[in-house]
């Protein structure tokens, strides 16, 4: 029975009933609210199925031919299309919440979401601010380092210039007393007599050179030594103590003394080297002779 009503309602909507039967069906709908509601629901479902593409090809053609006969019905279809389109954009179960903004304003979920976003925004803002400050500080430090580097480079440049100037002065021989005095080295061996002094000739051309003498030892029996220099007249012109022997390049022991050339004049000289005995007394160890020629 219900199926028969349903089938007849469908035929009515699709314009498949003869006009007289259609009028009779309309009268029944006016007299029977339930039938009218059933027919209205069927009409809405039919329209929805049409706009959602759920009708078969034959049903679709019948719908277009028999139902879409008036602008008002086409407006119903268009309304259904807009409604279906809107519903399809809403996730199932969230349709009401999604489409009703005013109640959503007060929902805990929405406020929690907004709070989360606000927190993220604050954290991001704080992070960006901190990075900007750190970046500014690093730039400042970088500028300072660059300034220091430039300063060091300038100092290095100045030093190079000074070194170059000093080198030039040294080469020209005009150090003016500020340059380390030249050292003239002289190696003396013991046991030479006066006639052999000329063999150890020391030529001094600079104003005040320092004379370094290596006094070789035949025997190194003492813990320390005392050296003295005498001129040809036997006059002692210089003396030093607490000298230590040391090994030379070939393993021979020697004692080194340095004496200003200003003390030396042209002539013969004697270097006496005394060794300090265990009792603290000095005993004669070696004699050395050399000749000075001043120019």
């Amino acid at each position: 029975m219900a199926s028969s009503r349903h089938e007849r309602a469908l035929q009515y909507l699709l314009g498949e009933l003869p006009e007289q039967e259609a009028v009779e069906f309309e009268e029944q709908c006016f007299a029977d609210d339930a039938l009218f509601e059933e027919t209205s629901a069927l009409e809405n479902d039919l329209i929805d199925s049409f706009v959602r593409g759920e009708l078969s090809e034959a049903e679709r053609q019948q719908f277009e031919k028999g139902y879409l006969i008036s602008p008002a019905r086409r407006a119903n279809v268009q309304f259904s299309r807009v409604l279906a389109g809107h519903l399809s954009t809403l996730p199932p179960g969230e349709a009401v919440a999604e489409s009703r903004n005013p109640p959503a304003l007060f929902s805990l979920q929405v406020w929690m979401g907004r709070l989360a976003w606000a927190t993220i925004a604050v954290v991001v803002t704080a992070g960006i601010s901190w990075m900007m400050l750190a970046n500014r500080r690093l730039r400042h430090e970088l500028d300072l380092m660059r300034a220091r580097q430039a300063q060091f480079q300038q100092q290095e440049q100045d030093l190079r210039l000074q070194i170059a100037a000093l080198d030039a002065q040294v080469r020209q021989g005009g150090a003016g007393g500020q340059v380390r005095p030249e050292i003239i080295s002289l190696i003396l061996t013991p046991g030479l007599n006066r006639s052999d002094a000329a063999a150890r000739k020391l030529v001094i051309s600079s104003p005040a050179p320092l004379v370094r003498m290596e006094l070789y030892l035949e025997q190194d029996d003492s813990r320390s030594y005392r050296a003295s220099v005498q001129n040809a007249e036997g006059q002692q012109i210089w003396e030093t103590k607490d000298l230590k022997s040391h090994a030379g390049p070939q393993g021979a022991k020697s004692v080194t003394i340095e004496i200003s050339s200003s003390l030396l004049q042209s002539g013969d000289y004697l270097v006496k080297l005394d060794g300090k005995a265990a009792n603290g007394q000095f005993e004669e160890a070696e004699d050395y002779r050399f000749q000075v020629v001043k120019r």
Partner: protein, 200 residues
């Protein structure tokens, strides 16, 4: 009287108006809702002077006469050369066609959203859940919805039809169709007229 109970009478009034509008739709009339209102106006006048056994069937008869009148009037005033494709006099804009056009653009969606929000929350939930999803999903959801509301499927269907009609009318108004907002807010004169409807 449609019904002794005021709220029940209002429901019956709504149903009658929908029935009339659907009749005019099938009869390919334009201004279907205005014609429904005209039918009710004439019905009210008749009820004051005649004894009516079935108000709905009586209204149906009036509506068919109005439909014939409209057709005769249109044929008499406008020559066949002046008719456009839909049988309308040239220069006369069909409101349903305007609505179809408006519904197809962004304004249609805007109006739908606005009208959905204007519905009571209960109706809003009903219209969305009743029509959302694929065919099988809709069937299942409707059963759940009826169970949740403690009503039969038939009662739920009637509610959904009524709410859908309210929504459609709201959209028509939103889209600029000029007519009285009878469906969603019956005016006091029409409400008063309900009391004049004869018993069935």
């Amino acid at each position: 009287m449609l019904d002794c109970d005021r709220s029940r009478a209002a429901e019956k009034y709504e149903i009658l108006r929908r029935k009339l509008a659907k009749l005019f739709e099938r009869q390919q009339c334009i201004h279907t809702e205005e014609l429904a209102d005209e039918t009710i106006d004439r019905l009210v006048k008749k009820l004051g002077s005649e004894q009516v056994r079935d108000v709905s069937l009586f209204a149906y008869g009036i509506a068919r006469n109005i439909c014939l009148e409209v057709r005769r009037k249109t044929h008499r005033l406008v020559s066949i050369q002046d008719y456009n494709r839909e049988g309308l006099p040239a220069g006369d804009t069909d409101p349903e066609e305007s609505i179809i056009t408006e519904l197809g653009n962004a304004r249609g969606l805007e109006c739908l959203t606005k009208c959905l929000r204007s519905l009571p929350l209960d109706y809003h939930e009903l219209i969305l859940k009743y029509y959302q999803g694929e065919k099988q999903v809709r069937i299942r959801q409707r059963k759940e919805l009826a169970k949740k509301r403690g009503i039969s499927i038939e009662a739920l269907r009637s509610e959904a039809n009524a709410v859908r009609e309210k929504l459609r009318s709201c959209m028509n108004r939103c889209l600029g169709k000029k007519r009285q907002a009878v469906t969603s807010q019956p005016d006091t004169s029409l409400m008063a007229k309900r009391g004049e409807f004869g018993g069935q």
